[in-house]
């Protein structure tokens, strides 16, 4: 079983920077997941996935994603986060 790298996305995260990090992990044949809490962060995560698709497509790597809900504890409080598992085809 391979290790999964989880990238935590904020509403202020730059989609291009996230996409670059994702592309590097995927090119190294590792698994990557994005985690986002709140509409602004989810929006940046989706933009990052689109940009990463563009980065990886010339390498013949096609990706899609499977989203899910996950509970995370932040400062002792339980929050619902969205998790995007990236699938390499």
């Amino acid at each position: 079983m391979s290790e999964v790298e989880v990238l935590k996305i904020a509403a202020t995260s730059a989609p291009k920077a996230i996409a670059g990090a994702m592309a590097t992990v995927i090119r190294n044949n590792k698994q990557v997941e994005l985690q986002a809490i709140g509409a602004g962060a989810v929006n940046q995560a989706v933009k990052a996935i689109i940009i990463a698709r563009g980065y990886l497509s010339p390498n013949g790597i096609e990706i899609s994603f499977a989203p899910s809900f996950t509970n995370v504890e932040i400062d002792g409080e339980e929050r619902t986060a969205l998790r995007f598992a990236i699938e390499r085809k």
Copy 2:
């Protein structure tokens, strides 16, 4: 080539209702795409995808999504929308 049903998602759209509509289209072996403009709408679209995964999983149908940018004209103005193409596995 099969016809693609495009569901337009707003920030006020109810994720469960979108998910129900998506699941029906997918069970009928038709293609469905979600289109969202703005962070609130994108967030509802992703939630709908997660809920639809739950609706379809008991039918042995697994789905993932490939997002992309698309330009749409609204009231004569060009806007960037996010398009989520569903992939049935």
